[in-house]
Symmetry: C2
Subunit: 114 residues, 2 copies
């Protein structure tokens, strides 16, 4: 049994192309004994976005705070607290904070990718 | 890509021993194409608790709202928004709402169990 509070977890910057896109906290990962999947929390500042990318594993996302958009394959979806998302392997995706508060979301991935 | 809002997902009661212990929403599951893990949201009313149980698969939990306690192996842990928990396979556990608001938490499990 491992119990943590998010304020005790030090965030690390997510960098791509020389810029910081988000801050990431690993809430539960392989270091905690996770067997199949890892749970991470991301914070994107207003105006910021994640890198547009794709990969061969799935994401499951839950938006905790803020608002924004998710774009994929020419479509745009709105993100609000309470939005859940399944991104299948190889689906291109990018999350953008279009609001005035931090966009905070959980993103669960197979353990071997975190 | 599947995007849902929690208010559009109809909750189902979680029953054990003839009583309703919680309400459950499947945010992402096998019906959405989930490959390895499923994401569920549970609501426990003030004074309520989940059944005390154990099983041969892991939980990853994130508390979204309310407050309560998690008991396991004679220990008790406090739950608040921002608390994350890893429960390893075969660890006995029970969550209790000891506050005045709904205790709401995400619980991710291997896909074959949801």
């Amino acid at each position: 049994m491992i119990v943590k509070s998010i304020q005790d977890i030090i965030p690390v910057p997510v960098e791509a192309d020389g810029a910081v896109h988000a801050m990431k906290r690993i809430l539960i990962g392989s270091g905690d004994g996770a067997l199949l999947f890892s749970m991470r929390m991301f914070d994107i500042a207003p105006g910021g976005c994640s890198p547009r990318h794709r990969h061969n594993f799935e994401h499951e996302i839950y938006v905790v705070g803020g608002s924004g958009t998710l774009s994929s394959a020419g479509e745009e979806y709105l993100l609000h607290p309470g939005t859940s998302v399944f991104i299948a392997p190889d689906e291109e995706h990018q999350l953008r904070n279009s609001g005035t508060d931090t966009l905070r979301f959980l993103c669960i991935v197979p353990r071997e990718y975190e």
